[in-house]
């Protein structure tokens, strides 16, 4: 449930302290960042956007950890990558 989508904080709204501007693949929207008051948000941070609110600050290191998970599993990953490089699926 609950569509959430990562966006980059690219600006603030002058008049309203709890509003930030978030960029998603090049389009921008004002987003309420009031739920992340404790997060020390900075421009360039990524947040998870849900119904116009930033719900969570996205952790870059944890994000990388998921991608690294496979590597921890050993051989299967490399095999598959090799197979892919050899084929032409485009």
């Amino acid at each position: 449930m609950c569509l959430g989508i990562p966006g980059e904080l690219v600006g603030y709204v002058e008049e309203q302290a709890d509003l930030g501007v978030v960029d998603v693949a090049g389009v921008r929207r004002r987003i309420n960042i009031g739920l992340l008051v404790n997060e020390d948000l900075r421009l360039g941070d990524w947040v998870l956007v849900h119904v116009g609110f930033a719900l969570s600050k996205i952790s870059e290191s944890e994000a990388r950890a998921v991608l690294d998970y496979l590597e921890g599993l050993g051989q299967a990953y490399d095999d598959e990558l090799d197979a892919l490089r050899g084929s032409d699926i485009s």
């Binding site: 449930m1 404790n38 719900l55 994000a63 991608l67 299967a76 892919l84």
Partner: protein, 371 residues
């Protein structure tokens, strides 16, 4: 898109699928429930079942906020929307949800002023722009969405916007899961835990599932890689004889959730002693209403609601589908009388509903494709 595309990477997804296959005990069946409709949607949209071994079955849980709305609540909302001075607002998801006599779409065609918004803050903006109208926001959703509603009410109170109110239908995920666990007719091996709810409530509330019911749960993200990894983590726990709460989605979900969000909910909302879930019946302490301190923003107190309990259509088996007891296609009306154009049950409406997801994305001859 960053944080999206890398989790759809073909090489990684296939590699992980191979790892899952390798990890499965061929002599055993695995049944996991993805609690969250968002996961159901991802699974069907990306055809993830095609990547899983035959002996891994995913069943779809109750975590679709639209699916669990009982018909009577839709009727109440339409009753409010019909007042000539009311502008009813809600998310696009609500448009086609059937009440006892039609949906928002029908009520709109019959003359009610109903508008779809992207955010509850947009509903508040409509209230500001229409001081001579009463603007009601029909709030739906689990703990993910409740903070937004709460923040919006706080903002309305701060600004003194007197013509705004909320028709609150927020539900809580833990009582929902407990109802599943207590249902006698389902055997599960583990849970794929809801990612975005957990961004608010954190991972601790799931502890009882591992502790009391002996089932593993992995809080999961919403991209293909996230879900496969969570399944891999569940299989690993089972292989290692562990039953723990794990967090695959740590990039978004802090273990402790979002305390600011929880506090906002706590200020603006109160726990309802009971609430009806469509197909599941009344569940104690399973939903939120507007707190007394914000009674002025509570549509339930401002409007005289019929509040009727409307029995689900006889043919409807949404309850069984929500509990994961029936596969969507096992419902007798699936795909014939009940389709996304003419839904009988709510599971056929929301794109997170198991029936809608299966009908819209999954309805094809798998054997022919595989051949």
């Amino acid at each position: 898109m960053k944080f999206v595309d890398e989790y759809r990477d073909a090489g990684r997804v296939r590699a992980l699928a191979d790892e899952i296959a390798a990890l499965c005990d061929p002599g055993r069946r695995y049944t996991f429930m993805e609690v969250c409709g968002g996961h159901t949607h991802t699974i069907y949209k990306h055809g993830l079942e095609d990547l899983l071994p035959e002996n891994v079955t995913l069943v779809h849980g109750p975590g679709c906020p639209v699916c669990v709305i009982p018909m009577g609540r839709v009727d109440d909302a339409i009753h409010i929307a019909r007042q000539p001075d009311v502008i009813m607002t809600s998310f696009g998801d609500m448009t086609r949800v059937p009440g006892g006599s039609g949906s928002f779409l029908d009520a709109k065609a019959a003359g009610a002023d109903i508008r779809m918004v992207y955010s509850p803050l947009d509903a508040l903006k409509i209230a500001r722009a229409n001081p001579d109208r009463r603007v009601v926001f029909m709030a739906i959703g689990f703990e993910t969405t409740a903070p937004s509603t709460a923040m919006t009410v706080l903002r309305a109170a701060e600004e003194g916007i007197a013509n705004f109110s909320v028709f609150c239908n927020h539900v809580l995920i833990i009582p929902g899961i407990r109802a599943i666990l207590d249902s006698p007719d389902l055997r599960l091996d583990g849970f794929i835990g809801p990612g975005h709810v957990s961004a608010v409530i954190g991972c601790r509330p799931y502890a009882f599932i591992a502790r009391d019911y002996g089932k593993p749960l992995v809080v999961a993200g919403f991209e293909p890689l996230d879900i496969l990894q969570s399944i891999h983590m569940l299989l690993t726990q089972l292989a290692q004889g562990r039953t723990e709460v794990e967090n695959q989605y740590a990039r978004v979900v802090p273990w402790a959730g979002n305390p600011v969000a929880m506090e906002a909910i706590g200020r603006v909302m109160r726990l309802r002693p009971y609430f009806e879930w469509r197909g599941l019946g009344s569940i104690a302490d399973s939903a939120l209403g507007v707190a007394d301190a914000y009674a002025a923003f509570d549509a339930e107190r401002l409007f005289d609601l019929p509040g009727l309990r409307v029995a689900d259509p006889k043919s409807c088996q949404c309850g069984e589908v929500l509990k994961g007891v029936l596969k969507p296609w096992e419902c007798k009306v699936f795909g014939t009388a009940c389709t996304p154009e003419t839904p009988i049950g709510t599971c056929m409406v929301s794109s997170e509903g198991a029936c809608a997801a299966y009908y819209t994305f999954g309805r094809f001859n798998r054997e022919a494709i595989r051949a």
